[in-house]
Amino acid sequence: MNAQSSQQQSSDGRHDDDAALTDFLASLMDYTPTIPDELVEHYLAKSGFQCPDVRLTRLVAVATQKFIADVATDALQQCKARQSAVVKDKRDKQQKDKRLILTMEDLSKALQEYGVNVKHQDYFADSPSAGLDPAARDE
């Protein structure tokens, strides 16, 4: 009895899940993701994805939007953490600190957690002795 009831519950759960998924896919037709359908279709076609169903492309678009939003949120948190650390030292730069700028530093730290290694060059030098003291340069 218990096994049957649990099975029935699980099957009901599966039906709920399926129903939720179906409803979600139907609602995607009303929702317009920020990433346009044409762009998503173009890149999916490049990787061999074949599906005439628009809902799937919308699903991929929404998933990508969520991914980028997550990465940008993490970068935003990094930026705010850095700004709050700086504001403690200098109170007169509050005007400028309120400005939120997406920088490579924050982005590389945020992407690190997602397994994407983006190392940004701090600076580029013409020669090995660029930026050194004149005394050291003579050597």
């Binding site: 990433i35 949120t73 939120l100 700028i101 490579m104």
Partner: protein
């Protein structure tokens, strides 16, 4: 840095300006249009989160990562579809692809290998995201891309109504090109063909030149092997190529032009014999002079000679080619002929560097 209150619109204008300024330096890729759209979309997403401005490189990086994410989803979804003997994806393939990509960050229920896909944590996260965030569509309307251009279709035999020349050629294949472009001129009818060909030069000047330029290297290769026996055959073609490019003219025929024999300076010939072993510097000279050394002997012995004779090969016989196959991929063959006492090295029969 690009800053502004209306980040996206300003960004778009700035991109246009940058494009106009750096037009000379830009190496346009084939995907520029799609990448530009991706950049705008990513900028819109970031703006909705609260960002006011971006670094150009950071925006490029994030949009590139987003594009790769889309491609990865597509690739994984196709993999799962192909595993189950399908070539069209369905929603479960996409969900499995998303699970693969989300396994780096982790999602609820990832460790449960037995779970139903429709109730996967990835799907629930996406549903929650959709319900929580506001909807903001893309800023511009985009045409469907890439634009498909009509391909150049060659007319087939059946379309024109002609019968193919032979039975084994099906009628749905494209037509053969005009015979004037690929005529093989016989040496006997040389003058007649010359006249006929010259009369059509004005009409098909460009086409013939192009086909001849393709033929010329092939003919030169053939000429080395089989000799200049049928050299008269392509004299007519040669005349026209000479008009266009003197460097593509065929080599001179026997006794067509009096050429003085090359006189080796006495200094070099002495050095070659005496000092070659000792000095490594002269090693290069030796390798160059070796073919000349037996040639100078030949010139002394034979009665009527010209510089072309060394390359003359009898019509009936062919050079016996001896291959030396080494351990490396490079193969070199040496040619021995009854006429040439020297060894002419023919290397790189099929050498790959």
């Amino acid at each position: 840095m690009i800053d502004g209150k209306y980040g996206v619109e300003f960004l778009k204008e700035k991109e246009m300006e940058n494009h106009q300024d750096k037009q000379k330096n830009i190496t346009s890729g084939s995907d520029d249009f799609a990448q530009a759209i991706a950049r705008i979309a990513v900028a819109q997403i970031c703006e909705s989160l609260g960002y006011q401005s971006f670094q150009q490189s950071a925006l490029d990086t994030l949009s590139d990562v987003g594009v790769r994410y889309i491609r990865e989803i597509g690739k994984n979804a196709m993999c799962y579809a192909n595993l189950t003997n399908r070539n069209e994806c369905n929603v479960f393939d996409v969900i499995q692809g998303l699970e693969d990509l989300g396994s780096v960050q982790g999602f609820s229920g990832a460790s449960d290998y037995n779970h139903c896909l429709s109730g996967s944590g990835v799907v629930r996260d996406i549903i929650r995201y959709v319900y929580e965030t506001e909807e903001f569509p893309f800023a511009h309307s985009i045409p469907t891309f890439p634009v498909v251009k009509g391909g150049k279709l060659y007319t087939s035999f059946a379309q024109i109504g002609e019968n193919p020349p032979n039975e084994y050629i099906p009628s749905w294949l494209p037509m053969f090109p005009d015979p004037e472009t690929c005529v093989h001129i016989n040496s006997r009818d040389k003058k007649e063909v010359e006249f006929a060909v010259e009369s059509k030069v004005e009409e098909r000047h460009m086409k013939v030149d192009r086909s001849l330029l393709n033929l010329q290297p092939k003919l030169i290769c053939d000429g080395l092997e089989t000799g200049l026996a049928d050299g008269n055959g392509y004299a007519a073609k040669a005349q026209r190529t000479v008009e266009s490019n003197p460097f593509l003219a065929p080599p001179l025929q026997l006794e067509e032009k009096d050429v003085s024999l090359p006189m080796l300076p006495a200094k070099l010939s002495d050095e070659a014999t005496s000092k070659c072993q000792n000095h490594a510097v002269f090693a290069n000279h030796v390798s160059i002079l070796e073919p000349y050394a037996p040639a100078t002997e030949e010139i002394g012995t034979h009665s009527c000679q010209s510089t072309q004779d060394r390359r003359k090969v009898p019509l009936n016989g062919r050079n016996t080619v001896k291959f030396k196959l080494g351990s490396s991929r490079k193969c070199s063959g040496t040619e021995m002929s009854p006429w040439n006492e020297g060894i002419e090295k023919v290397s790189l029969w099929f050498g790959v560097d």
